[in-house]
């Protein structure tokens, strides 16, 4: 018992320090949440902590306004389309290329893979201007497809890298026996490789989903009417101060889905980070 108290006493300062840090880290997000439920007429004069002393002030009117605002609901739907479409396309293309790099011998394979690694660091700013012109002339400008293709292309270096590194760990015997059984490469890929690669695919999918969902610059460049939620909020933000009662709940809606995805698949998210940076 005494030993326990001593242990607690020596550890207490550290525990308290960490508790304070953890709270500090949560406060900003909490601040946005509480701001978003403040009555519109109070928002320009009172801080969000007012809700603590008067919880009855909290209202969902701001959220109702967001969901009544057609620009914002359309933007939310656009975001879903871009994020889901992009995630599926990227996972498929990355997995296929990753398989080729891991298990299909072809001349120049290593060189091509080095090129993929080289592309890993290319800033997307480098591509904005030519793709802008290309989209203008092909009709891809201001379309969901145009945004999906751009995101997929820039997600590929990481995706191929991740998939190839995962697939290369699959036991060779497994593949050989499937090939001897006469299975075609496509069958092997869909029946054997994809199921085995599920953990890596989950990491990649979550990553790409969050990345696309959270994107601002690509959509801002290649969209006008096709606006995801970040761009829609950004448009509102240009007149910041007057309409914070719309910006705060809209921002919270835009980050609620990534948060849900994050909490549901946290393990894969962390794995993806590790695979991307340590290996």
């Amino acid at each position: 018992m005494a030993a326990r108290i001593v242990r607690f006493a020596t550890k207490a300062p550290l525990q308290i320090l960490l508790l304070v840090i953890a709270l500090l880290w949560l406060v900003p997000t909490l601040g946005l949440l509480l701001t978003s439920v403040m009555p519109a007429e109070l928002i320009s004069t009172e801080g969000w902590w007012k809700i603590f002393s008067e919880p009855s002030l909290a209202t969902f009117d701001n959220y109702r306004a967001v969901f009544d605002n057609e620009d914002l609901t359309t933007a939310l739907w656009t975001t879903v389309q871009i994020a889901v479409g992009n995630t599926i396309l990227l996972v498929l293309v990355s997995a296929m290329a990753g398989y080729a790099f891991a298990w299909l011998p072809f001349p120049g394979r290593d060189w091509l893979f080095v090129l993929v690694i080289a592309l890993l660091v290319v800033p997307l700013q480098t591509a904005l201007i030519p793709i802008f012109s290309l989209y203008q002339s092909t009709g891809l400008f201001d379309t969901v497809l145009g945004l999906i293709l751009f995101h997929t292309a820039f997600g590929l270096p990481f995706g191929v890298f991740l998939m190839r590194n995962f697939f290369i760990g699959i036991p060779k015997d497994l593949l050989e026996s499937a090939r001897i059984d006469g299975a075609s490469e496509l069958t092997i890929f869909f029946r054997l490789i994809l199921p085995l690669g599920l953990p890596a695919i989950a990491s990649l999918a979550i990553f790409q989903f969050l990345w696309t969902w959270n994107d601002l610059i690509v959509a801002l460049t290649f969209g006008r009417e096709t606006q995801p939620i970040t761009v829609a909020v950004f448009t509102q933000l240009r007149q910041f101060g007057g309409n914070i009662e719309l910006i705060a709940p809209a921002s919270f809606v835009s980050l609620a889905i990534p948060l849900v995805v994050f909490f549901a698949f946290q393990r894969y998210f962390a794995q993806g980070l590790l695979a991307g940076s340590v290996k």
């Binding site: 550890k11 960490l18 840090i21 880290w25 949560l26 406060v27 900003p28 601040g31 946005l32 004069t45 801080g47 969000w48 293309v93 290329a97 398989y99 080729a100 299909l104 072809f106 993929v116 080289a118 592309l119 890993l120 660091v121 290319v122 800033p123 700013q125 480098t126 591509a127 904005l128 201007i129 030519p130 793709i131 751009f150 997929t152 292309a153 270096p157 496509l186 969902w213 601002l216 610059i217 801002l220 970040t230 909020v233 950004f234 910041f240 914070i244 910006i247 705060a248 921002s251 835009s254 980050l255 990534p258 948060l259 994050f262 998210f269 962390a270 980070l273 590790l274 940076s277 340590v278």
Partner: protein, 434 residues
């Protein structure tokens, strides 16, 4: 043809299979990444319309245009400060949480901002850093701490009631007539709204001064009907809690006193010679307007704060994974050999962790070079020039109204050049692995 009749279709089929698997990736990377990069490099040597070859003029403009120079300086600051900060914070958090029981909860809290868009994180911090202490949580905390450490003055405003007293609430007031031991000093103020008189104020009175003393009164020299300025009269209230200074002829403060409920104060053991009596500036509350975090001067540190808040979790998670992979046996062996915890950290943990730390550090340098969204959302339009960075400058030059594709391309190529060393590093690491 006929001799290889068996192998050729087989090879052909294998080639076709490879093409099917690799084709989509090659097309996407070729059209959306490789081609535009080359195109941008070429474009950067042409003027804004793309018609005239201008050599390196666009690159010269990067270093001579004011907003672009600001962007370069800011980016240099970002690279110098942020990756180091994030790596250090991640290391500290990872080490501190290694042996606590609620490790997962702590790490989740710190890691959570990673899921949020940098843009939304910026909105969050724009609200946190609002200049008005009534609305911005950061300024509210600062003002609260300031008030606790140095209580605000008892009065908000006031004027001298006679020409004998000169000064203002901003500077404090000084009595023109010198005083010596045995004198009384009257510091009358007017223009104090009744509501601002401290509630514990009583009828003003002046304590009698002994031979070695200087006494006096700070009071509200006004009563309904007016009264006579400069005289302590019935119905006039003292100002309690005011700070009074006794100054020597050179202006140095030799003693301070605080007034009683009746406004009276007293200096003991006053030596010979003349003195001045002054009502110190502390008496008056300075209305604290809060720090202008989002103004032109502090905007870059403010955005950095928001950015560090987002990325600390990344650093922590990677470093924690690195920590857990250090074998317990090595650590235990060092401890058994008599190494202190400090030595274990410096001699064993730190060197073994070095590769992970460098990965985090380098990843953050790349990310910091490309920082964009969070600046648009934290910085109000009025401070965006001051918060400018390369990636933002590239976008604003190309699409944000200026629409100069030549200069925009040059900025993009410049950004690419900055990340090239990392590219070389990546490739080297890969070749070592294979």
């Amino acid at each position: 043809m006929s001799a290889g009749g068996i192998t050729d279709p087989q090879r052909l089929r294998r080639a076709a299979t490879t093409a099917v698997f690799l084709g989509p990736a090659v097309v996407l990377l070729g059209v959306w990444v490789v081609y535009p990069t080359l195109r941008t490099i070429v474009r950067s040597f042409f003027d804004r319309d793309g018609a005239t070859f201008v050599g390196l003029e666009n690159y010269e403009a990067i270093f001579t245009t004011d907003t672009l120079v600001t962007a370069l300086q800011n980016n240099a600051l970002w690279v110098a400060v942020v990756p180091a900060f994030i790596t250090a914070i991640g290391l500290i958090f990872a080490v501190l949480t290694e042996r606590i029981r609620w490790q997962v909860a702590f790490r989740t809290a710190v890691f959570m901002p990673m899921a949020i868009s940098l843009f939304a994180a910026g909105v969050i911090w724009r609200i946190m850093l609002d200049q008005d202490p009534e609305r911005g949580a950061v300024n509210a905390s600062i003002v609260a701490v300031k008030d606790a450490l140095a209580p605000a003055g008892v009065l908000e405003q006031g004027q001298a009631s006679t020409p004998q007293l000169e000064g203002s609430p901003e500077r404090g007031f000084v009595l023109r007539t010198p005083v010596r031991a045995g004198d009384q000093a009257l510091l009358g103020l007017t223009a104090i709204p009744p509501a601002q008189v401290p509630p514990d104020a009583e009828q003003a009175a002046t304590p009698r001064a002994g031979p070695q003393e200087i006494t006096g009164t700070v009071w509200r020299d006004f009563k309904p009907g007016g009264g006579e300025p400069g005289r302590v009269e019935p119905e006039e209230l003292g100002i309690p809690g005011a700070t009074v200074e006794l100054r020597d002829p050179g202006g140095g403060v030799t003693a301070t006193a605080t007034t009683e409920a009746d406004g009276g104060f007293r200096f003991d053991d006053v030596g010979g010679g003349t003195y001045r009596v002054a009502l110190a500036q502390e008496t008056f509350a300075t209305t604290n307007s809060g720090v202008s975090w989002l103004g032109p001067k502090l905007i870059t540190p403010s955005v950095m704060l928001a950015y560090i808040w987002v990325w600390a979790g990344f650093s922590m998670v990677i470093i924690a994974a690195g920590l857990s992979s250090i074998s317990r046996e090595v650590l235990e062996a060092a401890r058994t050999d008599g190494a202190t915890e400090g030595q274990v950290f410096r001699r064993v943990t730190a060197p073994m962790l070095a590769p992970v730390l460098s990965v985090v550090f380098i990843t953050m340098i790349i990310n910091v070079l490309k920082v964009f969204d969070i600046i648009l959302s934290v910085a109000p339009a009025s401070s965006q020039d001051d918060a400018n960075v390369i990636a933002l400058a590239m976008w604003r030059t190309s699409f944000g109204g200026v629409n100069d594709f030549g200069l925009g391309s040059a900025i993009a190529v410049f950004l690419l050049l900055l990340v090239l060393p990392v590219l070389a590093l990546n490739i080297r690491r890969f070749r070592r692995e294979v």
